[in-house]
């Protein structure tokens, strides 16, 4: 039961990464890809009706973590206090930028929100990547499962890590590169003309960066976190995830070469899902591992609510998510056209 909820929560955050990932990705490539006001409107319209629904996956995932593993939610959210607050402010800025930018057409208002949108999106990608890095690297939890991390210490891995060190920054960079590629592929699919051409160029550049960074990560994560290596050694079936991730990367290359834009974007979705699945598989059964002594970490066994609560949750979760899936299909089918601007 706890394993099931671990999977559900990991799945919800992975869906969040794929869906809000292209919103953030559009933000990252927004300034270089879209030069004219019309092109920028096209990009904003291509996420306008859905970004908010995409963000709900973060909230729903957070809520699910809250009730299924209250101890991990409490420890993690208070321990990552400062970066989380900054994520909240960035989410506020990103949302207002998307919605308010087109409310007034004026040469000061629009460029201001353009920069806010692009900057907030890129920083969000970096922070979410670094957050994943922190979870994978582990935190200095005390006997009660509590910790508090400063923003940085000496940028090294050790008994006193900070939120930012070379490892988490690497994952943050990989996250920015991945979402830039993801967003660029979305734009390639939704845009046309020179906008589409610029997006193609950004997609192939960031694809290269993603390939390099993925290799580095797959090498260093098992080195830094021995429990990862152990887990994959015990259950070699898990190797399917990293293999799938690389297959998806190859797929992106083939599809972009042959101008099959939708297929390329889907490969990018598959890449993100596979990478996160690889991370979740290797991290299992930990929610938050300890830096020094592995025994003291928070696992799905010592951080979960009672089994009665977990069973009750299943009764509403399954129909609820099926309903959400229905809305999702509706939104993407009826509210989003092939090219944003023409539809509105």
């Amino acid at each position: 039961m706890t394993t099931l909820w671990f999977g559900i929560i990991a799945g919800m955050f992975a869906i969040y990464a794929v869906l809000d990932g292209f919103d953030m990705g559009v933000g990252i490539v927004y300034l270089p890809a879209a030069r004219t006001d019309a092109e920028r409107r096209t990009l904003l319209n291509s996420i306008g009706p859905v970004w908010d629904g995409n963000e709900v996956w973060l909230l729903a995932g957070g809520g699910t973590l809250f009730f299924a593993f209250p101890a991990a939610y409490a420890s993690g959210f208070s321990g990552f206090y400062l970066p989380l607050m900054m994520v909240l402010w960035l989410l506020i800025l990103r949302g207002t930028a998307v919605e308010f930018r087109n409310c007034i057409a004026n040469p000061v208002w629009t460029p201001f929100w353009d920069v806010v949108f692009a900057g907030a999106s890129a920083l969000l990608a970096l922070f979410f990547g670094a957050a994943l890095g922190n979870v994978l690297r582990g935190v200095p939890v005390d006997a009660n499962g509590n910790f508090f991390l400063p923003l940085w210490t000496n940028f090294r891995l050790g008994p006193e890590p900070g939120i930012l060190d070379w490892f988490t920054i690497t994952i943050g960079a990989a996250s920015v590169a991945t979402l830039a590629m993801h967003g660029a592929l979305w734009v390639t699919m939704k845009g046309d003309g020179s906008l589409q051409q610029r997006a193609r160029n950004i997609a192939s550049l960031s694809w290269l960066a993603v390939v390099v960074l993925s290799f580095i990560l797959l090498l260093i994560v098992p080195l830094i976190r021995p429990h990862f290596a152990q887990r994959y050694a015990d259950r070699s079936s898990g190797l399917i995830f990293p293999i799938l991730a690389f297959a998806s990367l190859v797929g992106i290359r083939i599809m972009t070469r042959t101008d099959r834009d939708a297929a390329a974007f889907l490969c990018s979705c598959a890449y993100i899902l596979a990478m996160l699945a690889a991370a979740a598989f290797g991290h299992y059964p930990y929610l938050l591992s300890a830096v020094s002594d592995r025994q003291a970490g928070l696992t799905i066994f010592n951080a979960s609510t009672s089994s009665s609560g977990l069973s009750i949750g299943l009764y509403w979760f399954i129909p609820g998510v099926m309903l959400a899936g229905t809305y999702f299909v509706f939104a993407y089918r009826h509210l989003l056209g092939r090219t944003g601007q023409a539809e509105y």
């Binding site: 629904g53 709900v56 208070s78 206090y81 607050m85 508090f148 949750g313 009826h334």
Partner: protein, 452 residues
């Protein structure tokens, strides 16, 4: 100042600011459904244009509501980790359900409401409006379920490590406390929506702009405002009052400023609670009424604060007392204004009575004050408990978050929200200037054009 105080102020500030926006969208969602229904029934495009206008106002409110709502869910973990660890197994469920059942629905169909009029056709567009209404009311449902559990915990068990976990979802969702609190809260939101609609209508009539829309807004706002403000006092306010009397008698005593046990307790209209001297200074009272309202008997005994140990008294009795009296006082004023406006409207003289239009227009901020005071009554009344009778507020905050970090983020939120307020008011101002009408259903471009 200690970290606990900072955590409390930050939560109070962010949630108070946040709730300014959902209360309008909850109320407006219902009114937009009414307008869309009128449009569908009469075939008159006037109502569609009115609905479109309010959907844009709704949209701006919704964005600010969404971006200020995300911090609420995070703050349980960031600033109240001890509470989250203990109670997450229970209150995490309704919060996750809110995301799954309400936010997906609301966000998807708001998109349909704002952008989909042409693609969907009139019936599906009406249905989108209805689903947005449903989504916002479901959202309120789960939030009040969460709060009701903190006010009157049911359906849980305590584990050996002191944490709570959920035993019965049915008990949680049918909490006696929840039913009245929910209805009271939602009718209050309808009062906010109605008052804002009537106020804007009155403004247009006084400005002599968009007068046909002004009349529609005033008419609809006064009708729903009259019904909702009456329902707010009876039965919902009355029912909620008896919940407090049953489950939090010490809170009732503090709200009413009743220091001693009293047979035939009076209803205090006004007066200043003096906690040091344990009496109410300069009171104006109506004898026996509190006893009647609480127990339906004029001479029933109501317990005063003296009957309870002091460590169970709400921590800030004067603030609780004043918040409660402001809420009740404003609620009574709403009924009076709406009854008068309804009567004059029935006599077909409302649109020609500037004095009453002024009154309706100036009423606009007061439902916000009343709902804020109402929530302060609920939350201050729950003190010193975080979960009533089970966990004290002092035991719930995050042990590792220092005063300095807390102050930093509190000030950050204050700055961020000040900027948001200015932007919000600017955009609402532009919408009001642009007014309803104009056939173009395409919100962003049309809004941009209006500002040129």
């Amino acid at each position: 100042m200690n970290a606990l105080t900072v955590d409390r102020i930050q939560f109070a500030f962010t949630v108070t600011f946040h709730y300014l926006f959902p209360q309008l969208t909850i109320g407006l969602a219902l009114l937009i459904v009414v307008l869309k229904t009128l449009a569908l029934r009469t075939g008159n495009s006037h109502y569609n244009e009115a609905a479109r206008f309010w959907a844009r106002i709704f949209g701006i409110n919704f964005v600010v509501g969404v971006v200020t709502g995300i911090p609420m869910e995070f703050q349980f973990g960031t600033n109240w980790s001890a509470f989250s660890k203990a109670a997450g197994g229970v209150i995490g469920q309704p919060l996750a359900m809110e995301g799954v059942f309400s936010f997906f629905l609301e966000s998807t169909f708001l998109g349909a409401l704002l952008f989909g009029e042409r693609v969907l056709g009139p019936r599906l567009h009406w249905f989108s409006a209805f689903l947005v209404f449903l989504g916002s009311w479901i959202s309120g449902f789960f939030i009040v379920v969460t709060n009701a559990w903190m006010q009157h915990p049911v359906g849980y068990m305590q584990n050996t490590d002191g944490t709570f976990s959920l035993v019965s979802l049915t008990a949680l969702l049918t909490n006696q406390w929840f039913v009245w609190q929910y209805l009271h809260n939602m009718t209050a939101a309808v009062v906010t929506g109605s008052t804002v609609m009537a106020a804007l209508g009155a403004f247009y009539l006084l400005m002599r702009r968009f007068e046909d829309f002004g009349r529609t807004f005033v008419r609809l706002g006064v009708i729903t405002g009259l019904v909702a403000s009456a329902l707010m006092i009876f039965p919902t306010g009355d029912g909620q009052g008896r919940n407090v009397a049953n489950y939090q008698p010490v809170t009732l005593a503090a709200m009413e400023g009743l220091f001693e046990d009293k047979r035939g307790a009076p209803l205090v209209i006004i007066g200043q609670p003096n906690v040091e001297a344990r009496r109410l200074d300069n009171p104006i009272v109506v004898p026996d009424v509190l006893s009647f309202l609480t127990y339906r008997r004029w001479k029933a005994e109501v317990r005063g604060l003296a009957g309870f140990p002091e460590d169970r008294w709400p921590a800030n009795i004067p603030l609780l007392y004043y918040a409660y009296h402001i809420m009740v006082g404003l609620g009574s004023i709403f009924v009076a204004v709406y009854a008068l406006a309804g009567w004059i409207m029935y006599r077909r003289r409302l649109y020609q009575t500037p004095l009453l239009l002024w009154a309706l227009m100036l009423l606009a901020p007061f439902p916000y004050i009343a709902t804020t005071a109402g929530w302060m009554t609920a939350e201050l009344g729950r003190q010193p408990w975080l979960v009533y009778g089970l966990m004290r507020t002092a035991a719930g905050s995050s042990p590792q978050v220092s005063v300095g970090n807390g102050l930093f983020t509190l000030l950050g939120f204050m700055g961020m929200y000040s900027v948001l307020s200015v932007l919000f008011l600017l955009l609402i101002y532009l919408e009001v200037l642009r007014g309803p009408g104009g056939a173009d259903p395409q919100a962003p471009q049309a809004m941009a054009a209006a500002a040129d």
